[in-house]
C-alpha cells in the first residue's frame, strides 16, 4: 500500500512528539520542521524506518528570512522515497548568530557539496562536515552573499562606468561633449560620470 502523508505525519509524531511541528501539505508535498538539534535524528529516522525509507536526498538548500528573529536561517531538505514515490520537505531553523547545524554527509554523500554551497551563500556552519569551504565563490570572500542584507545593485545607479553594458557612462543623448567630437578619450573617461 502506498505511503500517504498522514501515515508519515503519524509516524513522526509518534516518534518525536510535539518537537516536529508545522505540518503542511500544500501542493501535495508534506513539509514540516524540527529543532535543529534533532535534524540528524529525524533524517536517520526517515532513512531507517522500514516503512518510510526516505533514502534519496533530492535537494538541500538554505533560506534566509531576516523577519524571523532567532530563526533567521533555514536549511531545507527535500527527501524522496523512491519505492513509494513520495517526496517530503523537512526544514530546520537556526539563529544567524550561531548558525551551527549537524552535517548530513554521514548519511548522504550528496550532501557534501550541497552543504558547502549552503555554507558558501548563507554561512551555515555544518558541524562535522569533512571539507567545509567555499565552493562557488572565491575563497577570499568575507561575507555570505545570499543573505538578505546584501541587496542587489540598484539598476538605476549612475556612478559606475558601465558603458559597455548599455547603461550609465557616456550614453547621454545630445550632450554637447559627445556631439562635438573634440573630447579626447581621457577627458571622456574623466567626465563620463557627470554627463547622463
Amino acid at each position: 500500500m502506498a505511503l500517504t502523508n498522514e501515515q508519515i505525519q503519524e509516524k513522526l509524531t509518534a516518534k518525536f512528539g510535539d518537537q516536529v511541528a508545522g505540518f503542511d501539505e500544500s501542493w501535495g508535498m508534506l513539509s514540516f520542521e524540527a529543532p535543529k538539534e534533532l535534524n540528524l535524528k529525524v533524517l536517520n529516522f526517515l532513512y531507517d524506518e522500514p516503512e518510510l525509507k526516505f533514502r534519496f536526498l533530492t535537494d538541500l538548500c538554505g533560506v534566509h528570512d531576516p523577519e524571523k528573529k532567532g530563526k533567521e536561517l533555514a536549511v531545507v531538505y527535500h527527501l524522496h522515497n523512491l519505492e513509494d514515490n513520495v517526496r517530503l520537505r523537512f526544514r530546520v531553523f537556526t539563529s544567524i548568530h550561531q548558525p551551527d547545524i549537524y552535517t548530513a554527509t554521514g548519511l548522504f554523500s550528496s550532501a557534501n557539496w550541497m552543504e558547502r554551497e549552503t555554507y558558501d551563500f548563507y554561512g551555515v556552519n555544518f558541524v562535522g562536515h569533512p571539507n567545509l569551504k567555499r565552493i562557488l565563490n572565491v575563497d577570499e570572500m568575507e561575507y555570505f552573499p545570499m543573505r538578505k542584507e546584501f541587496p542587489l545593485e540598484d539598476q538605476s545607479r549612475i556612478d559606475k562606468d558601465d558603458e559597455m553594458f548599455g547603461r550609465g557612462g557616456t550614453l547621454g543623448f545630445g550632450t554637447e561633449k559627445s556631439e562635438s567630437g573634440t573630447v579626447t578619450e581621457a577627458e571622456k573617461h574623466d567626465t563620463g560620470e557627470e554627463i547622463i
Binding site: T58, C61, M114
Partner: protein
C-alpha cells in the same frame, strides 16, 4: 611508490606523486572547471574538483526579477538543452500560480523538450567519442543538432539560449516550417542515429576504452544523488517523467532504458536508447497533434491574463489588454504566497526548482537543483585508481555542463 623504482639520491626528490591540473581551460574538460589530479605514474591517487569559474549568482539575481524575466536565466544553466530548463521553469511557475495548460500546449512542449533531450544526448555521446579518439561521429551528428536548432529558431527565434515558451504556453503557434522541419528530423534522424551506433556501439576500440571506466553501483549512485541517464546506467529505473508526470507525459508510451554496471559504456548505451525513445515520443506527439480539430487545433497558450502577454492588436485597441501588458512588462503583479518544488527530467537528470514566494513580485528564494552539480562530487570515487585517460572519458560521459554546475 613501489620498490622497483630507481633509487634516487637522498633529498633529490621529496614528492612521489605528480600533480596535474586538468582545467579550468583544458580542452578535455569541455567547460570551465578544474580537476586537480594527484597521479602516481599514470594512475590517479586522488582528485579534487574546483568549480565556480562561471558562477553568475542566478539565485540572487532571481530574487529581484518578475517570473518571466527569470526564464532567460534558466537558459544559461544547461545550455546544451536550454528548452528543457525553460519548460521546467514555466511548469514551476504554473504550479505556483495554479495554471492548467491545454493538452495541445502540453504536446507542443513535449515535442520541444524531447528535441532538446536528443540534442543534449547527441552532443554528450559524440563527445565521448571525441575523447576516446573518434572524431568522425561528432562531426557527422552535428548537422542534426543544427537541424534541431533550426527548429527552435522557427518556434522562438533563437537557437542556443532559447527563452522558449511563456508561462501558460508559447508566445506564438508553431509555424508550418517548424512542423516541416520536425517531420524532416523524424524522417532523417533515425538513419543517422543508426549509423552513429554502427560506428560506436560494437567498435572494439571504443568498447575497450569505455567498458569498466568509471563504474558506480546503484547504491552509491543513489547515495551520491545521481539522477537521469547516469543513475539509470547504474540500474535504477528512476525517471521523473514516469514517477511524477508533468506536461501530459502520462499520455505517451515509452520505456526507460537501464544499464547494469554504471560505467561509461552503460551511460553511452542508455543515452543512445533514450534518443530512440525520444524520437518515438515526438512521433506520438505529432500524431496526437493531428487529432485536434477546429478551434482546438490553434490553441497554443492557456488563458492567464496576469502572466501571458495579450495580443499586440488588443494592446493598441483595448484598455484592459493595455493594462495587463503594462503590468506584466513592468513586473507589477503580486504572486500568490507559497512554496513549490517542481522537477522535470532534464537531459542530465532531475532538474528541480524550489521557489518560495512571500506574495511579492519576485521570488523570495529560488533554488535550482542542478543535477550535474550534485553528481560531479562523485568524480573522485569514479576515477580513483584508474588511468588518466579514463578520467577524461568519465568526465565527458557524465555530461558535466559548467553552466549548470555553477548556476
Amino acid at each position: 611508490m613501489s620498490e622497483q623504482h630507481i633509487k634516487l639520491p637522498e633529498g633529490s626528490i621529496e614528492k612521489t606523486t605528480t600533480t596535474l591540473n586538468l582545467g579550468p581551460t583544458h580542452p578535455a574538460t569541455h567547460g570551465v572547471m578544474q580537476n586537480i589530479l594527484e597521479l602516481d605514474g599514470e594512475r590517479i591517487v586522488s582528485t579534487e574538483q574546483t568549480i565556480g569559474y562561471i558562477h553568475r549568482a542566478f539565485e540572487k539575481i532571481a530574487e529581484r526579477r518578475p517570473l518571466y524575466q527569470i526564464t532567460p536565466l534558466t537558459d544559461r544553466l544547461n545550455y546544451c538543452s536550454a528548452p528543457l530548463n525553460n519548460m521546467g521553469w514555466h511548469l514551476t511557475c504554473e504550479k505556483l500560480l495554479g495554471v492548467s495548460t491545454p493538452k495541445r500546449v502540453d504536446y507542443l512542449r513535449v515535442i520541444v523538450m524531447e528535441l532538446a533531450r536528443i540534442s543534449d544526448h547527441l552532443i554528450c555521446n559524440s563527445i565521448v567519442g571525441v575523447d576516446s579518439g573518434a572524431y568522425t561521429g561528432f562531426l557527422y551528428v552535428m548537422q542534426y543538432r543544427e537541424l534541431i536548432y533550426e527548429i527552435y529558431e522557427e518556434i522562438c527565434g533563437s537557437r542556443l539560449t532559447t527563452n522558449i515558451g511563456r508561462i501558460g504556453g508559447f508566445e506564438r503557434n508553431f509555424n508550418d516550417i517548424a512542423f516541416q522541419k520536425i517531420e524532416k528530423f523524424l524522417d532523417e534522424y533515425p538513419r543517422v542515429l543508426k549509423e552513429f551506433e554502427n560506428l560506436f556501439t560494437r567498435n572494439r576500440i571504443f568498447m575497450d576504452r569505455l567498458i569498466g571506466a568509471g563504474p558506480i553501483s546503484a547504491e552509491r549512485a543513489l547515495n551520491y544523488g545521481f539522477t537521469g541517464p547516469n543513475l539509470r546506467a547504474a540500474g535504477v529505473d528512476y525517471d521523473v517523467r514516469i514517477s511524477n508526470p508533468y506536461s501530459s507525459y502520462q499520455d505517451f508510451d515509452f520505456s526507460v532504458p537501464v544499464g547494469t554496471t554504471g560505467d561509461c559504456y552503460d551511460r553511452f548505451l542508455v543515452r543512445n536508447e533514450e534518443m530512440w525513445q525520444s524520437l518515438s515520443i515526438i512521433r506520438q506527439a505529432m500524431q496526437k497533434l493531428t487529432e485536434f480539430k477546429g478551434a482546438e487545433a490553434d490553441v497554443y497558450h492557456a488563458d492567464v491574463p496576469e502572466y501571458y502577454l495579450p495580443k499586440k492588436e488588443d494592446v493598441y485597441t483595448k484598455m484592459e489588454a493595455l493594462i495587463w501588458h503594462f503590468k506584466i512588462i513592468m513586473g507589477e503583479i503580486d504572486m500568490p504566497k507559497g512554496e513549490v518544488y517542481h522537477s522535470i527530467e532534464a537531459a542530465n537528470g532531475e532538474l528541480g526548482y524550489y521557489m518560495i514566494s512571500d506574495g511579492g513580485r519576485a521570488p523570495a528564494r529560488l533554488h535550482f537543483r542542478r543535477p550535474c552539480f550534485i553528481y560531479y562530487q562523485a568524480y573522485e570515487e569514479l576515477t580513483k585508481g584508474s588511468m588518466l585517460s579514463d578520467a577524461i572519458i568519465v568526465m565527458s560521459s557524465l555530461n558535466l555542463i559548467a553552466g549548470e554546475m555553477d548556476a
